[in-house]
């Protein structure tokens, strides 16, 4: 601890900013951290949290993209870290979102990984100290001391792979504590994988650590935890520090509103999309009185207890219904499973549960089965899954229809068939015109188009299938604003003209709210809630931050009481 100068903050950030290739991700971040303080850092995806961490931790990616602006001070002295080891040397430790533990090792071996206690031997002089044997007993003692600091009881000889998930998080933290000089600890979403009781134990342990003088920066999207644990809360939005206040001055609802932006700002963004009356009224009614209307309209798609093993987008237990002709949005933070839902329904990743299309159940795990039931899918991975980059546009547009529906072919099925080049080119021309795809013609290669035009080709490919249900992932990712509104308008018009049910998955909440009738928010692989698109932005924000509807209401009651 800073014993010679108690007034200087442990870490001070002074006008920190960062640009990636002309793209500003952080600007003018100024705050300081004192010993023994617990600071909550919250923000949406893309708010700049990870960039800030990378700067503080001296990740090579920062230096290789031109460094950062502003000053960093530790104990009042200027520092500029160029590697994580320097940050470690200054007592800054970091617990990552993903476990970095070795599964077959014991807790003690993991805590002391690469800092093992060694028995000296003469061999050290001949080779290096890597040939000395490990002092198991000393390692055991040091590890259990670190674990006890956390106030939990874990046997240091337990194998990590046999531990409950919660324990692993403690082992990670114990590893940072074991470094003698650790004074500042960054925890990136430490409770994401924990059960409620485990999270409680962790929070208690963190408070205990703070009492011992270790400063903690706690990054989480679970606002209630941030609120109970932290003494100060910092909100990041669009690379700027929006607020820096003591925790007791803010309610979780206010924090959520600060994170997603205020209502007035939302309208500004909405101007990008041609406004159209949102048709939520009838849908809304159905949500309120589901039992009365349910018998009348069969849902176009009914999902029950769906789970999907999509790496990085795990879906745990999802149920929802989409009415025929509806545009349904799926939103949520990255990594919480929103992309897993459409990918799982289409059979691209191992999935289970029940999916019914117009009352008939759908065979999962077989993309062909989904296509045969007249579902079409526009993947978020445009260049990988969506397009054959080295093939011309007409091939791309008609490919799936040719393969699954036998269209655009001449000859006798099962015996001898040829491509009908004429029909393919004609169809492609039709869509190039309708969607105003900028290209030299139907024979241009798909890889040569810009992102927005490629996305239109993907849409055309889906439209050619004449789908009953259209699943679209991230329709506007990586395309410019002009193309964005065109793509969204195309979807809306297609829905209006053909009555096609459309499910859009997107990271951009505003986009979903402008196009969809209803929007479901996915949180930790489950649906946190489904709201009509006209609901206020904070409500969506609250759902994204892991506050379910009831929890919300409870808090409001508490506030009013």
């Amino acid at each position: 601890m800073s014993d010679n100068n108690n007034n200087a903050p442990l870490l001070q950030l002074d006008h920190i900013g960062k640009e990636f290739y002309g793209n500003r991700v952080l600007s003018d971040i100024t705050f300081d951290i004192h010993a023994g303080e617990i600071i909550g850092l919250v923000g949406e995806n893309g708010a700049g949290k990870s960039t800030l961490l990378n700067i503080l931790f001296g990740m090579p990616v920062i230096a290789s993209t031109g460094g950062y602006e502003g000053r960093l001070q530790v104990d009042g002295k200027n520092v500029r870290f160029t590697s994580p080891n320097q940050a470690l040397a200054h007592g800054i430790g970091m617990v990552h979102q993903e476990f970095s533990l070795i599964p077959g090792f014991t807790a003690a071996e993991n805590i002391l990984l690469n800092r093992e206690v060694l028995n000296g031997s003469i061999m050290n002089y001949v080779f290096s100290d890597r040939v000395s044997t490990l002092d198991r007993e000393a390692m055991h003692n040091r590890a259990s001391a670190a674990i006890h600091t956390l106030g939990v009881n874990i046997n240091p000889d337990m194998i990590v792979s046999e531990m409950p998930v919660g324990y692993k998080q403690f082992i990670e933290i114990a590893r940072e504590i074991d470094r003698k000089n650790t004074r500042l600890l960054f925890l990136d979403e430490p409770t994401a994988v924990l059960t409620e009781t485990e999270a409680d134990i962790l929070l208690t342990a963190l408070k205990k650590l703070a009492k011992q003088g270790i400063a903690i920066v706690f990054i989480s999207h679970r606002l209630s935890e941030v609120k109970t644990l932290c003494s100060r809360i910092l909100v990041l939005r669009d690379g700027r520090l929006i607020t820096d206040q003591p925790a007791e001055n803010l309610t979780t609802r206010e924090i959520a509103a600060l994170m997603v932006g205020r209502e007035s700002e939302r309208k500004e963004i909405q101007v990008e999309f041609p406004s159209e009356p949102v048709r939520v009224d009838d849908v809304n009614e159905e949500i309120i009185k589901p039992k009365k209307k349910k018998k009348k309209v069969k849902p176009a798609i009914k999902v029950e207890h769906l789970w999907v093993d999509m790496p990085g987008e795990t879906v745990r237990d999802v149920s929802f219904e989409v009415k025929k002709g509806e545009i349904f949005g799926i939103g949520g933070l990255a990594g919480h499973g929103k992309l897993g839902i459409p990918n799982g329904i289409m059979g691209l990743y191992p999935a289970g549960g029940k999916v019914r299309l117009f009352g008939r159940s759908l065979t999962l795990n077989k993309p062909r089965a989904a296509l045969n039931r007249k579902m079409a899918f526009v993947s978020e991975d445009r260049r990988g899954v969506g397009l054959l980059l080295d093939e011309p546009l007409d091939w791309n547009i008609t490919f799936t229809a040719m393969q699954t529906q036998g269209r655009f072919l001449l000859g006798i099925p099962y015996i001898c068939q040829f491509r009908n080049e004429y029909a393919m080119t004609k169809e492609a021309k039709k869509y190039i015109e309708a969607l105003s795809i900028k290209c030299t013609g139907p024979h241009q290669l798909a890889g040569e188009l810009s992102g927005g035009n490629q996305q239109k080709v993907c849409l055309a490919k889906a439209f050619v299938l004449k789908p009953n249900i259209l699943l679209i992932c991230e329709p506007t990712r990586g395309i410019d604003i002009g193309a964005k509104s065109l793509v969204l308008d195309t979807l809306k018009n297609y829905n209006k003209e053909n009555g096609t049910t459309i499910i859009i998955t997107s990271s951009e909440l505003e986009e979903l709210r402008s196009v969809c009738d209803r929007v479901a928010i996915v949180d930790e692989g489950k649906i946190a809630g489904i709201l009509p698109a006209s609901s206020p932005a904070e409500d969506f924000g609250m759902l994204m931050m892991g506050q379910t509807k009831q929890a919300n209401d409870n808090e409001e009651e508490e506030a009013s009481a």
Partner: protein, 391 residues
């Protein structure tokens, strides 16, 4: 419970199958116990060292080191030179090791460097690398020896004046290690007979009353192998061994903890290559002849097959696996031809069977490894999903 049982069977299926086959084949072959034990002891002495050299790369997560043939080639070059210089006995063997070591280190560094550029595909890469280095070895032996590298003994050279003949007799060092400490186990009746034939006094004799016939024991070789086992046990306890285990389980984690991953992997391969070089020298001193162009060919394949038959897998192997494997695999080698002959009147069937088995077992264990890894990945994903959602 059932899954646990299934796992136990699945993990030990290979040795179990071999024990069952041997149980049928041994009586069919009609060999006596003393003959079988003698043969097995010889083969344990001959092959164990080579198989033990595979353990360290497995520990470092690099799979089965098919690149051990590189070490074998280094050992053979040492032996060829020693043979030409006429150094005999234990000094000859030591000199061969001394010549082989730097060659093996260079080859190991090269192999490790290549494998670091082919992470995740170490086995197939090292296998093909074996073929490539074989070409270099042949160039050296077939063209350089007797031309750039002086070979004075004309009996070793091809009639054209350069290049080494295929069959080289290693009379000078034949059995020198095996017979360094002569020892014999024999029945009471056979002792006198044995000693009268083989000379008196020099033997450590262990008499067993119920035993018939006699068994010579390659005691010195077994001691060397025991020392090697102790080395591996010690190595596992060192910091370097711990680092290798960490890298074997997760390179990313080891890297983020500051362990020099690439360097450590190279060290693992270098150790393995050097040990394989010594292993090949021990193997050839037992055989007594060196097939210049073939001896190393099967070394990798048969060592790996034996290790896998002993119950090892691509990611896990112990010293016990080595000895179980060497016994079961070579029991098959000894028994199968005769059993085949007695059964169908054709020794070829047994010969065919053992080759078929050794390749088959490697194929099966590679498939099993991939299958198990996929199953583990699936289980890991399932645990991420939590309890809800069935399955």
């Amino acid at each position: 419970m059932i899954r646990k049982l299934f796992d136990i069977i699945a993990n030990n299926a290979v040795p179990a199958v071999f024990i069952i086959i041997s149980a049928f084949a041994i009586p069919l072959s009609g060999y006596s116990a003393s003959y079988l034990i003698q043969e097995l002891l010889t083969r344990i002495g001959r092959n164990s060292f080579l198989i033990l050299s595979l353990l360290i790369p497995i520990m470092a997560g690099m799979g089965l080191n098919f690149g051990m043939v590189l070490g074998a080639m280094a050992g053979q070059i040492g032996l060829l030179l020693v043979c030409d210089w006429g150094v005999v006995g234990i000094p000859g063997m030591v000199l061969a090791c001394l010549i082989g070591t730097p060659i093996a280190i260079v080859l190991g560094l090269f192999c490790g460097g290549v494998l670091n550029r082919a992470k995740g595909r170490e086995m197939v890469t090292s296998y093909i690398l074996g073929f490539f280095i074989n070409g270099v070895y042949q160039m050296v032996v077939l063209y350089f020896m007797g031309w750039i590298i002086p070979i004075t003994n004309p009996a070793m050279l091809l009639s054209r004046g350069y290049g080494v003949r295929n069959a080289i007799s290693l009379l000078g060092i034949r059995g020198v290690l095996d017979n360094l400490i002569p020892a014999v186990i024999s029945g009471t009746t056979a002792t006198q007979q044995f000693l009268s034939v083989n000379g008196n006094g020099a033997f450590i004799v262990c008499q067993l009353p119920f035993f018939e016939g006699y068994i010579r024991i390659p005691l010195a070789t077994l001691i060397v192998i025991a020392l090697f086992c102790l080395f591996i046990i010690w190595f596992r306890k060192t910091k370097l061994g711990q680092d290798m285990r960490a890298i074997g389980q997760s390179q990313a984690v080891a890297d983020s903890a500051g362990i020099p991953v690439n360097r450590t992997r190279i060290i693992a391969i270098v150790i393995s290559t050097v040990l394989a070089c010594y292993g090949q020298i021990i193997y050839l001193q037992n055989m007594g002849t060196l097939n210049t162009y073939n001896s190393h060919d099967q070394t990798g394949m048969f060592s790996i097959a034996a290790l896998l038959i002993g119950g090892a897998s691509v990611s896990h192997a112990s010293i016990a696996n080595v000895f179980v494997g060497v016994i079961l695999f070579h029991l098959m080698f000894i028994v199968a031809p005769v059993a085949g002959k007695n059964l169908v009147g054709d020794a070829q069937i047994g010969e065919y069977f053992r080759v078929f088995v050794s390749y088959g077992i490697i194929a099966i264990s590679l498939v099993l490894h991939a299958w198990r890894r996929n199953r583990e990945k699936e289980a890991a994903r399932r645990s991420l999903r939590g309890n809800k959602g069935g399955n």
